[in-house]
Every structure is written in structure tokens, then in C-alpha cells.
């Protein structure tokens, strides 16, 4: 019998003033699945992530483990769902360990003291993301990739079953992009954590995500495996650019090329744009 999805979103409709941001979105995500949310600027990716992680409420329902997110208290939500946002504010130079330690917050009371288990958990999380030696460095002195991995370590300490990331590889060079995404997929495989992230790079999304949710102008255009969603027709319509999808031998090695509007693509295998 197939496992029930961990996260189910039903009839998500979201407006800001009179502007429709998301319109009638339905989706489900399983335990250990990596879901990529892809779409052009203004498609509603960030809003969808905020709704799925319970940061914003709207019309429709989001069920996490068969319970409506609205029924969770803020603390209960934080015990289940970790949100990895960039930290731009580094006025008071917290170090990496102090940032990672914050993951304990949803599991501790106001008067509880840190236990040896907590310290071990922090050390293990830092080890998992390969930052043990940088634990005492100020967060702002770390590279973008290290910061992102540090925040993922915080999510691990948070013991969340769902990690939501908004453009986790933005501003990272190619090396760190792969490093961060590899880390996330390996966590999803080994710890059965569900990962939902928005990505701009279609190729990275195709390579690292199990399923893709393609958004455009607040509407869900398609949801499914990268091969099923990233067709030249759909991609060219959504991104308003001609493109070509080159398929390799394995299902994870196909590549999407976008071209300037005047040019046409070569090596087309799934039809011309």
C-alpha cells in the first residue's frame, strides 16, 4: 500500500489586496521527497513556500501529517518545519555555533538548560554539513555556501521533518550550488526529511529534485518528475524564451538550454519551441 503524502495542499488561493498571487493550487509531497518549485520571477514561488511552511495563511488548507497547519501552535510548527531563509542581519556577530544552537529553541522551555545531548546534536549537525572547524567563526565571516550549510545544520538540530528553502543557491558560485543541493538530497535520502525549495536554475532543479512544481502567474502549470514537467513547450511558455531539452542516457542527465528570443535551439529532442 503506497505511503500517504506527508504534506497536502488543497485549493490554495492567495491574494494581496486585489492582486491574485496564487490561484487554486493543489499538491502533495511525500516523506523523503525533494520537491523543486520552479517558475519565473513573480510566479508566486516565495508565497507558496511561506504558505506550505505555515508562515502565511490563506484560503484553502495545508495539511502536514494529516493535520491542518492552522491547528499547530507556532512552537509545534517550528518542531516540525524548518525554514531556511538567508540571514542578512549580522549586526552583533553571532558565531556559527550560536546560530545552529537556535535550532534547539522549539524543543526547549524557557527555563531548560542545554544538556550534553543538545551539545552532541549540534556537533553532529555541524559535522554532517562539514563545518565542525568553523563552529566558532562569526556567521558573517563565512562564505555564502558555508552560511547556507550552517542554516541547514540549524534545521537538522531543529529535528524538523520538513525543510523549506527559498532559493537556497542564490548568489552561490557553481561549486557551492552543487555542494548545498547535494547535501539536501543526501539528507532527504538518509534521514527521510522532506525538502521543498524554490530554484531559478531549471537544470539544477532537474538534476537534484524528485519532483517539480512549475508555477506561472500564480497558477500551477505542472507537477511531476523533471522529465515530465520540463518539456520544451511548457518551459518556453512559462519562461517566454525559446529552449531546447537535450536528453542524455540517464534520466538525470538531460539539459535545458534557453536561447535569446531571436535564435532557435539546436539538438532538439522533444520538439521545436
Amino acid at each position: 500500500m503506497p505511503e500517504k503524502p506527508n504534506l497536502i495542499a488543497k485549493h490554495i488561493n492567495y491574494k494581496i489586496a486585489t492582486k491574485v498571487i496564487l490561484s487554486d493550487i493543489d499538491l502533495s509531497v511525500h516523506r523523503g521527497e525533494v520537491l523543486g518549485v520552479v517558475g519565473p520571477n513573480g510566479a508566486g514561488k516565495t508565497s507558496l513556500l511561506k504558505i506550505l511552511s505555515g508562515q502565511v495563511f490563506c484560503q484553502g488548507s495545508v495539511f502536514w501529517k494529516q493535520k491542518d497547519l492552522k491547528e499547530y501552535s507556532e512552537m509545534q510548527r517550528a518542531q516540525q518545519i524548518a525554514v531556511v531563509n538567508q540571514i542578512n542581519d549580522s549586526v552583533f556577530s553571532l558565531n556559527l555555533q550560536q546560530i545552529v544552537r537556535m535550532g534547539l529553541l522549539p524543543h526547549s522551555s524557557l527555563i531548560s538548560r542545554a544538556t550534553p545531548d543538545d551539545t552532541l546534536r549540534i556537533a553532529q549537525a555541524l559535522e554532517k554539513v562539514g563545518l565542525t572547524e568553523k563552529a566558532q567563526q562569526t556567521f558573517s565571516s563565512l562564505s555564502g555556501g558555508e552560511q547556507q550549510r550552517g542554516l541547514i545544520a540549524r534545521a537538522l538540530v531543529q529535528r524538523a521533518d520538513l525543510i523549506v528553502l527559498d532559493e537556497p543557491v542564490n548568489h552561490l558560485d557553481v561549486y557551492y550550488q552543487h555542494q548545498v543541493l547535494q547535501l539536501l538530497t543526501s539528507l532527504a535520502r538518509s534521514l527521510k526529511v522532506t525538502v521543498i525549495m524554490s530554484l531559478h536554475d531549471v537544470n539544477l532543479a532537474a538534476h537534484y529534485c524528485d519532483n517539480i512544481c512549475l508555477l506561472n502567474q500564480g497558477k500551477l502549470i505542472a507537477k511531476g518528475t523533471p522529465e515530465a514537467v520540463f518539456t520544451t513547450k511548457q518551459l518556453s511558455e512559462v519562461f517566454r524564451l525559446p529552449c531546447a531539452v537535450t536528453e542524455g542516457a540517464s534520466n538525470k542527465s538531460f539539459h535545458v538550454n534557453f536561447y535569446p528570443p531571436s535564435q532557435t535551439g539546436h539538438h532538439l529532442t522533444k520538439g521545436d519551441c
Binding site: E74, R77, I81, S93, L94, Q98, I99
Partner: protein
Amino acid sequence: MNKKFWLLCFFAITSVIVGLFFGAADFSNRELLSCLVDSCSSEVNEMIFWEIRAPRVLVGFLVGAGLAVAGATLQNVTRNGLADPYLFGVVSGAGLGASIATLLFDSNFAENLGLLSLLPGISFSLALPFAAFLGALFSVILVQLLVTRTFGSKTEHMLLAGIAVSFMLSALSHFILFMAEPFAANKVIFWLMGSLARIETWYAWVILPVLIVSVSLLLLYGRHMDALLIGDENAKTLGVHVGRLRILSLATCAALTACIVAYCGGIGFVGLMIPHIIRNWLGVTSRTLIIGCVLLGGAFLVWVDVIARIALPDQEIPIGIITSAIGSIFFLLAMRQRNT
């Protein structure tokens, strides 16, 4: 951290003890030690020591600790290292509240306005800090509203809004004092520069409980306040009730500032300097910061008060002059550090 912490404890305790050795009355060291451990040699000395000198040192310590804690709280809540109860208008707000209370309890003035019948049974000494608290709360809310609704939350905007509110409320309280009393210059100087000269023992029994409750609350919510340092949105995703925590912190800051300003006037820059020093020396997490501020802030003001008493012969310098002189240089250095 532990070694530094104990060093700071030692410094704070030593400062309080050494502070007792300075004052207008000429006490020999032996006499002072005798007063401390046993009893003074004469009734006059006993009175001077226990009713003037010791309360002054004790209240000085509490005032320094309170102002430093209020500054640290304000800085954490606004994520702005230049926040300070003085620069953010909290001191001026408390001054305005206290000025209005002083005026209402002035029997002539109250009688003229027909308010005397409304005030029976209310003790002035308790009404004063309460009125200062309302004034401080008003200024905190005003600055927050200006920042969030009008100017945006950039550091510079926050600072400018705070300074503007500070000037506005100061102007208002000075105007009220001048209108009510032709010779109000002394009171204005008191609100502007602060003083520990008129300290009475019972002031400590008002400030101490407020300080204990405030510090306990801030220590209790220390980890939540740390989460505020990484931004409201991030803190919310960790289960922190950001709105409630901010209100609690600002109210704490207003209460501390109010009970200090009500009795000691406006003492500037302690809340700016001390948290900076503690962050650089001891650590940035809220619990470390608060405890460090209590110890160093208290010790700092004891020493400033010693300088105020002994710098000029037969004359006392208002304490705010010294803190402002040190603080303004520190402020410029902090600004420079931020820009490098």
C-alpha cells in the same frame, strides 16, 4: 567566558566597596571599615555613612546596571547597535512623564487647575516613577510607529526618529516646567544632566525590584531574544512570538528607564557604551549580555559618580556631564567602527 565573568564580578564588587571610600565627609579608612563591619564611631558618621554614602553607591550601581540593561535590550530588539534609551527618546519620555507628575503634585498648580481633589491619597514618590513609565512607554511606541509606519526600519532612520522624538519630548517637558515655575532652571538641568546628589535610601527599594524583575524576565527570554537577532521572520520560524516578545522587551526597557529617570534625571550614553563593551569582551548572546551589563554598568556608574564627587573641590559635577562626555566619544568611535 567563565574567567572573564568572575573577573567582572570581582570588579563590580570592588567598585562598590571602593566607591564607599569617596565623599564630601572626611572618613578615615579605619572608620569606614569599622562602619562596614561593625558600627561607626559616632552617630553623625553612622548617619552619613548609612543614609548618604552607602545609599548613593548602591543606587549608583543600580542606576548604571538598569541603564545598561535597558540599552542592551533596546539594541537587541531593534537590532541596532546605536540604540540607547537616551538617543531613542525613552529618557525624554520618562522626563516628560515625571515633569507632568511633578507639576500635578505641586499644590499651587493643581489647585489652579482644580485638580487637587483628584489626587488625594496618591503618594508622589510612587506616582513619579509611574508617570515616568507612561512617558517612556509613550516615546517607545511613538518611535516604533514612526519607524515601522513612516520611515522604514533602516538603522539611520531609527536613530533619526529616536533623536527627533527625544528633542520633541525634551522641549515639551522643559516648556511645561518653565510655564509652571518661573525658576525651573534647576529642574531642567536635573532632567538634562542627571544627578545622584539627592539620593535617598528608599529610591533603591523602588529601583531594585524593577531591576530584579526586568533582569529575570530578560534572562528567561534570553534565547528567544537571541533569535530576534537573526531577523523577525527567522525568529518566527523558530516558534518565537516576535510581537509579544518585542512588547515585553520594550516595556521592560521603559520601566527600567522610567524608575531611574524619575529619581536621578537623564543620564545619557550608559546604555550605549556598556552593551558594546560587553559584546566585544564577554559575548553577544542575550543572557551573557544582560548579566555583563548589570555588573559593568553598575560598576561604571559608581566610578563616574566618584569622579563627579572628587573632580572639583567643594563642588559636584552633574553625573550626566561625565557620562555624556565619555559617551559621545564612544558613540563616534562606534559609528566609525560600523563604517569600516
